[in-house]
């Protein structure tokens, strides 16, 4: 039997995701709707011979053309005509949730209302007469508690019955909401005309089309204009007449009147015995009492900083052990290959290229995963909404939105993260300008890849005030990111701010399953990038750093030296030591004459201004592709042989002793490294999320410029003040 297509629609925070997970389990698949950045989530449901594909539509409050999510939801319902719609409704928030239900009813698709969070409603003293509600709405209503799974079987049985008894395309009689005399009359007329012309008859009911025109729905008007220009003009004129009339007589707009009547209808049914309140509606619930403290004028921000600091602390300390396990694994692996394979390009490729590069990235997984887990906790518990609430006033100064805070934190705002899921987290921002501004500045955060370099150089030159400097860099990233966002919003990205009208959902105890799914989704994005782009880049970099090899005369000299050592050092230990040193020197020389080396040397003409020599240049070029490789490249360039990101203590000492390095150079290098172009994968993400490569290139150009200017100012400024000698 062909699985039927079901749509899952409802308000954000109504438990839609919980329901979706409960029904489909691990059999989910995330993709994209073509042309937009809205995610398409599908999953399989199978029980007792009922097979369905459930499409989780984006959470929406309404079906206007106000946002991409609503358009996507609307288009899906109209074009793909699911066999049934499961409309999840938050019982504790019934009035507002039914606003969407009304609009779904007007679309005349088969619907089953899943009345969720019955437990919360009961705790609040609300008694809901489900049968009455079903009668007044004219569709089946099934009470459920998605978190525990209660009622789900009955829900799906009801859906199955509806699917079997109401084939799609049937024209069920639905309750018609009255929108007041003025609108009703025109609506009737327009509906008749639309029906007779068969306008969009394959997609929407005629009354729905007419209503949308009265509501001045730009999306729909754009659709019908080319189909029937004359009819459209007439319908639009009729709608304008109503609008004029309303403006003159009641000083209001059709949209407002329609919204008022929808809520009036809803209030009407609820008053007729559907809901009875045992307690005063405005009594404070536990959530509100918690908020009194957590969003308090003084305690609020202090607690927030405390929470962020705790996340930082937990992430770093708990992940230290697993990170060292992963590192040992890769060290062992490269050791094994070292001993079993013969010397030559293949071995070098495997060890220096692949294991070094990819291993470095994978080594971060425990840290990143833990960070994402902590983020999932504050997201799922509802605390994140409070953070956005408290931060909004500050973020608005920079042309951003309180909700941007998430994207910054995921990208490494606390320290450790990844800009790839960070960039994707900007999807929740509705205004395109604010979204772009956030997109383009999240790469400034200290992602997991930047941490080892920070650790290396701070450890080498600022060991006495290690944590202070780390904290300082975190703070600096935020300052630069916010200032850059402001400048972008004043110049290239001018535009109106997104409305902040937002729900503050009640605090919830996150479910373990939900936390795992959220954590894994983001971690997987990070791993995927390692397996694909970084692997490719590592190989490319390896090639650039190996070829062309040493020029013949130099190679000959090294061979000579080798022979000399073998002859002159009789004692095994001494000989091995000298040979190792020689090999390291040879590698550094080979690096210098490789393609990457030559570029590094050529760049010295400019980079000296910031205090970088060719070795730093190569490392930074490598970092252009993937910042994880900066440390290992630096290690190779300083002839440390094979060095991996974790074992940087010896490199640290080496740099501290090197005459061309000093604290000022270290500072300048760090500044450049933290702020220059995002890594390649992030650039690709930016291109995808912004819809154009133009922005991706822009982000590379402007961040590298900022980084260069910062380094320049600090280095030259420092030299002037006498620091750099």
């Amino acid at each position: 039997m062909q699985p039927v297509v079901l749509a899952l629609a409802g308000n954000p925070n109504a438990g839609k995701t919980t329901l979706f997970n409960a029904l489909t389990g691990a059999r989910q698949h995330v993709g994209n709707y073509p042309g937009v950045t809205v995610e398409r989530k599908e999953g399989e449901y199978r029980k007792d011979g009922f097979a369905a594909v459930i499409v989780d539509l984006p959470g929406t409050y309404s079906l206007t053309a106000y946002s991409e999510e609503e358009v996507v939801a609307r288009d899906f319902l109209a074009l793909e005509k699911p066999a049934a719609v499961i409309n999840i409704v938050d019982a504790a928030n019934l009035e507002r949730n039914l606003y969407l239900t009304c609009q779904l009813l007007e679309l005349k698709l088969p619907i089953v209302v899943a009345l969720n969070m019955m437990d919360v409603a009961r705790d609040r003293g609300m008694e809901i007469d489900v049968d009455k509600l079903a009668t007044f709405l004219g569709v089946p209503v099934v009470p459920i508690v998605a978190r525990t799974g209660k009622g789900l079987d009955r829900l799906m049985e009801t859906v199955r019955k509806v699917v079997e008894e109401q084939p799609a395309g049937s024209d069920p009689e639905r309750i018609k909401i009255s929108y007041g005399d003025d609108i009703d009359r025109t609506l009737l007329e327009m509906t008749r005309e639309v029906r007779e012309a068969g306008l969009l008859a394959d997609k929407y009911p005629a009354r729905w089309v007419a209503l949308k025109i009265i509501e001045n729905d730009e999306n729909l008007l754009r659709e019908i204009k080319p189909l029937a220009p004359e009819l459209t003009a007439r319908l639009k004129a009729a709608a304008d007449r109503v609008a004029d009339h309303l403006a003159k007589t009641s000083d209001t707009y059709p949209e407002a009147v329609i919204a008022d009547h929808r809520y009036g209808f809803i209030k009407g049914i609820l008053k007729r015995g559907v809901i009875t309140h045992r307690y005063d509606e405005n009594r404070l619930y536990t959530s509100d009492r918690i908020d009194k403290v957590l969003t308090h004028r003084f305690a609020g921000p202090v607690i927030m900083l405390g929470v962020l600091f705790t996340i930082y602390y937990v992430t770093f300390n708990l992940s230290a052990l697993p990170v060292s396990w992963v590192e040992s694994f890769f060290n062992g692996l490269s050791g094994l290959i070292n001993n079993t394979l013969a010397d030559g390009p293949l071995k070098s490729l495997l060890v220096s290229g692949i294991i070094n590069g990819v291993g470095g990235v994978l080594g971060f997984i425990p840290l990143i995963m833990l960070m994402f887990f902590c983020i999932a906790i504050i997201e799922d518990s509802g605390y994140l909404a409070r953070v956005s609430f408290m931060m909004d006033r500050i973020f608005r100064i920079f042309g951003l939105h309180g909700s941007s805070v998430m994207a910054y934190i995921v990208s490494g705002g606390i320290a450790g993260g990844c800009a790839v899921p960070g960039v994707m987290a900007t999807r929740t921002l509705r205004s395109p300008k604010e979204r772009m501004a956030t997109l383009l500045t999240v790469p400034f955060m200290n992602c997991g890849a930047k941490l080892p370099i920070l650790a290396l150089l701070i450890g080498a030159f600022f060991a006495d005030h290690r944590s202070l400097y780390m904290f300082g860099f975190t703070l600096l990233s935020w300052v630069i990111a916010l200032v850059a966002a402001k400048i972008l919003r004043l110049t290239v990205l001018r535009g109106a701010p997104t409305p902040f009208v937002m729900e503050l959902p009640p605090y919830r105890f996150p479910t373990f399953k939900g936390l795992m799914i959220h954590t894994w989704e983001r971690t997987w994005q990070y791993i995927k990038k390692a397996g694909t782009v970084i692997l490719g880049i590592s190989i490319l970099l390896w090639a650039m750093m190996t070829y062309p090899g040493l020029p013949a005369d130099q190679a000959a000299r090294f061979t000579q030296e080798r022979t000399w050592i073998v002859e002159h050092y009789r004692e095994k230990d001494q000989r091995e030591f000298q040979l190792a040193e020689l090999e390291a020197r040879r590698e550094a020389a080979a690096l210098r004459s490789s393609a990457a080396g030559r570029i590094g040397v050529a760049l010295e003409k400019v980079s000296w201004l910031c205090g970088f020599n060719w070795r730093t240049n190569i490392a930074l070029i490598g970092g252009f592709a993937a910042k994880e490789v900066v440390v290992s490249t630096l290690g190779t360039a300083y002839s440390m042989g094979q060095i991996d990101s974790g074992d940087s203590v010896s490199l640290s000492r080496r740099l501290a002793r090197d005459p061309s390095w000093n604290p000022l150079v270290a500072l300048s290098t760090l500044l450049f490294m933290v702020f220059y172009a995002p890594c390649f994968v992030t650039v690709v993400c930016i291109a995808k999320e912004s819809g154009s490569w133009k922005w991706a290139f822009f982000s590379i150009a402007y961040s590298t410029t900022i980084a260069f200017l910062l380094s320049l100012m600090v280095y030259q400024g420092g030299r002037l003040l006498g620091f750099g000698c």
């Binding site: 409050y61 008022d260 937002m502």
Partner: protein, 82 residues
């Protein structure tokens, strides 16, 4: 006696009934979609540490909006001679 004031000027814990939402376009739609329509009873729950945004109680749930958005919402409140 009652008077009509802008939502922005309401104080913490003050109650009122929305009498008008004077804005169209995206913001207007958003405000209405969230349930802020004429005849709705609201209570000011509090404000963020920097006085902006404001959190209000509506039908037992909490909504937040910025002061410059609250400007468009007219509310009928008790006139205590303040």
């Amino acid at each position: 006696m009652t008077k009509k004031i802008s939502l922005r000027r309401m104080k913490k814990n003050q109650r009122g009934v929305i009498s008008a939402v004077k804005v169209a376009g995206d913001l207007g739609r958003r405000i209405r979609d969230m349930g802020l329509v004429t005849g709705t009873e609201i209570t000011i729950q509090g404000r963020a540490p920097l006085n902006d945004p404001v959190a209000l109680r509506i039908r037992g749930n909490t909504l937040t909006l910025r002061n410059n958005e609250a400007d468009f919402i007219e509310v009928e409140v008790e006139d205590n001679g303040e």
